[in-house]
Symmetry: C2
Subunit: 209 residues, 2 copies
Amino acid sequence: MAEKKIRNESTFSTLKKREKDLRKQIIVDAAEKLFASKPFHEVSMRDIAKEAGISASAIYRHFPDQKSLFLESFSRGTIQLKHEFDTMLANNKKISIIAFAERFIEYFTEKDQYFRMMINFFLEGPVEPEMFQKLSDIERSLLSQFDEVLIRMGIKKNVRYYSHALFAALTGIVAIFRSTPDKSYKQIMSHRKRIARFISLLLKSAAEK
Amino acid sequence: MAEKKIRNESTFSTLKKREKDLRKQIIVDAAEKLFASKPFHEVSMRDIAKEAGISASAIYRHFPDQKSLFLESFSRGTIQLKHEFDTMLANNKKISIIAFAERFIEYFTEKDQYFRMMINFFLEGPVEPEMFQKLSDIERSLLSQFDEVLIRMGIKKNVRYYSHALFAALTGIVAIFRSTPDKSYKQIMSHRKRIARFISLLLKSAAEK
DNA sequence: TGTACATCAGTGAACGCGCGTTCACTGATGTAC
DNA sequence: TGTACATCAGTGAACGCGCGTTCACTGATGTAC
């Protein structure tokens, strides 16, 4: 009897939690949709509420403030690339730096909002320690994954120079080559990849020397 | 008599114009000072007015709106690097890509506000055609100066790949390696230069192959 | 089975604030006759 | 030389707006006895 009760409560509360999480997800999705079309500091709580089909005040049932909602959205977006890279590293003993670089470009070309948020946090200074921590974690994680690929490629000296150079170059590529009235998404994607390949090859041939 | 009058009017109005320009300059200086400590979209007309020692409404005697004032500040800041590079190119027949890259890093490390504005306009999409034009001009000008250095270095094939790669890498370096509580301005400057040199050397040795 | 109470997502009005910008004005300077 | 008028930088109050957030509330659902 007691056991049953506990088990019921447990599944019940799990279900409730899941429902609550789904509602949270709807709000974050709405926010992300808007971030795709506007700078994130121009996205208001009213905008997000409208997109999610609820009232602005309802958002505060799920997030204590705007900052937390933005942070949640950002971290859901960027953690994914880390996981992808982990999988790539786990599945292939030897992995091409070119494939890595291309995937980086693809990812941040497709999810430009996150790239813009990332750069914004870099540039405007995250002030909030929580945000700063998150950003540092992402950066450190990406850099150490780059390190790993470069080591497997046979680089022994100055690994950190190589990975810093690559990370900077890829970030710069996404930052400066962007869609304009006369350049389509497809054109931009392929130009970004072209330059990313070019740099990866430079690093590779320097490493082999 | 008529001549004298004209001459007087002329010098007079020149002086007046100069005074007016000086007043404009004070306002732009105040804005720039604030941009150094805050994201530029958080700098208000009241902030600028306070910094300049005038009232907010007085700014509108000199600039039609906030956008124009920001644009003025941005273009004064970035045109200078173009001039420096022009001088470097005019004075030295053969010029080191490393010197060029280092100067880029130095310039945008010292004038971080302009770098942040530049990236911001890249990322958030300048919408205003005037702003878009200005930004494209700066980008095109820097890229063609890079082209020039690379050609003088002896690169014949794929010059554009090299200059795009270099521009992207340098931009990325300034974007991602930034001051933190535990890294001083000096440390950042030297790390940025170190990675910039590393990439420049990669390009150079690839070109010489 | 029925009743009183608790929980909680969601609502819409409202608060207080800072923003860009406008407006009527002042006061200093120069100009015309 | 004196007087009327024009120009214009600058002032401070005000306007209208959108923002993040709060608040009193509703209504649905579950819980206790």
